[in-house]
């Protein structure tokens, strides 16, 4: 029987990473993780084995979806200030590119992409976390990759023009 608290504690760094990529804001991300941990601790008695990793990712993903539902009441057009780009070194600019590309994704596509590529979960695990068939996970992933590829290709074109 796995030790519950140490298992949860061991997941905190990964949850923080996933939350940061999902929300792009360090404070909101850590609040999501905090909310996830509190709920996990409260549900310790209800957890009868199974995969703690998937369970925690599920809680966090659902909490973020709830959070975004309130945001969805108003049109969310994220506008990145073009001035920030001036003088950015290579890695910073690349980091911003991928971050900006993530913004353009629909929530489910973003979380599918991050869970598979950043967190290294299997298609089956992500299907359980998102509560959909594996085929749906794969199509979300495909669309996410397609959008991001276009977005990153577009960035490269822009940089070329600036020069």
């Amino acid at each position: 029987m796995i030790a519950f608290r140490p298992s949860v504690e061991a997941m905190i760094p990964a949850l923080r990473r996933y939350a940061r990529a999902l929300t792009r804001d360090a404070d909101i991300a850590d609040d999501l993780v905090q909310d996830t941990l509190v709920r996990a601790l409260r549900s310790e008695r209800l957890f009868h084995g199974g995969d703690i990793r998937s369970w925690l990712y599920t809680i966090l993903t659902n909490l973020n979806r709830n959070r975004r539902r309130s945001l969805a009441r108003r049109p969310t057009i994220s506008q990145f200030n073009e001035d920030d780009e001036a003088g950015a070194n290579g890695t910073e600019a690349e980091g911003r590119d991928i971050e900006r590309a993530l913004v353009g994704l629909v929530e489910e596509q973003r979380s599918a992409l991050l869970l598979v590529m950043l967190e290294g979960l299997t298609y089956r695990e992500v299907a359980e976390i998102q509560g959909v068939p594996i085929g749906t996970v794969m199509s979300r992933l495909a669309r996410a990759r397609s959008h991001i590829k276009s977005s990153l290709d577009g960035e490269k074109v822009m940089l070329r023009r600036v020069k």
Binding site: D30, Q34, L37, V38, K149
Partner: protein
């Protein structure tokens, strides 16, 4: 033996990147991209996405865990969690990033209204309702037939709890359980009708001023809630039937007052 030239599907290209290909297909797919440069370029581009994600975000997983996320602290002091969250929400509000998040919406969890005990209680009650009504074998901990149900819950929440008779609403008491809440434990009583639809009554100590009946819907659920004499109450049930929930709430109050 797999045909090396069998057409490779789009799904398989993705699966190659994610190590999700069955062993017998992997060689075929790798062969395919060697002879199909456009597909090879897409696979490479997708791999680059992974590299970019790791380059940008792996550092977060290497950071020291902030004090706000220490488990011992979170387990023992739920209140300080809410204060920390309120501060963070204000920070996000000031940055203009999360204004919508502060809008009243029960489905956005207790975070958005962390400083308000009544809302926290309502959301705890709704979370408990949502969680336990779905249980087939263990919806309640102590059954209605057991004599110690009400004395036990009453002792724990610090007031004489009466389970109202809701037969005129076609509801039968199943039993109850004890739960943690903001200012102390909470009692949850669960009722059920013949169709298996469930309603819960939630009662807990609450340091908050008296309120009249308030109603809130979240997802498929509705809740009538109020505060009286430093106790908070929530009647939860299916959404879209406020009058019925209000009737149940009135019955709970009337029968509670009879001594």
């Amino acid at each position: 033996m797999t045909e090396p030239n069998m057409p490779v599907t789009e799904d398989e290209l993705h699966a190659l990147v994610d190590n999700e290909l069955p062993a017998d297909r992997r060689a075929a797919v790798e062969n395919w991209i060697e002879t199909h440069p456009e597909d090879a370029a897409r696979v490479a581009a997708w791999r680059t996405i992974g590299d970019s994600l790791h380059a940008r975000y792996d550092a977060v997983a290497d950071e020291a865990i902030p004090p706000s996320l220490e488990l011992d602290r979170l387990a023992s002091r739920p209140r300080s969690w809410m204060i920390g969250v309120a501060a963070a929400v204000l920070l996000a509000f000031a940055a203009g990033g999360a204004i919508g998040w502060l809008a009243h919406d029960a489905s956005a969890a207790a975070v958005a209204t962390a400083a308000d005990p009544v809302t926290s209680m309502r959301e705890e009650a709704l979370a408990a309702h949502r969680l336990y009504i779905g249980e087939v074998r263990h919806p309640i901990e102590v059954r209605a037939e057991e004599n110690h149900l009400l004395p036990w819950l009453s002792r724990r929440i610090g007031m004489t709890l009466r389970a109202p008779d809701l037969t005129k609403f076609d509801l039968k008491l199943l039993g109850g359980r004890l739960l943690p809440c903001v200012d102390g434990p909470a009692a949850l009583l669960m009722y059920e009708n013949e169709k298996g639809e469930r309603v819960t009554l939630y009662a807990t100590q609450l340091k908050a001023p008296r309120t009249s009946f308030r109603y809130q819907e979240a997802d498929k659920f509705g809740a009538i809630f109020w505060v009286a004499d430093n106790y908070g109450w929530v009647v939860s049930g299916p959404a879209g039937d406020k009058p019925r929930l209000k009737g149940i709430a009135m019955a709970a109050i009337e029968q509670g007052e009879r001594r």
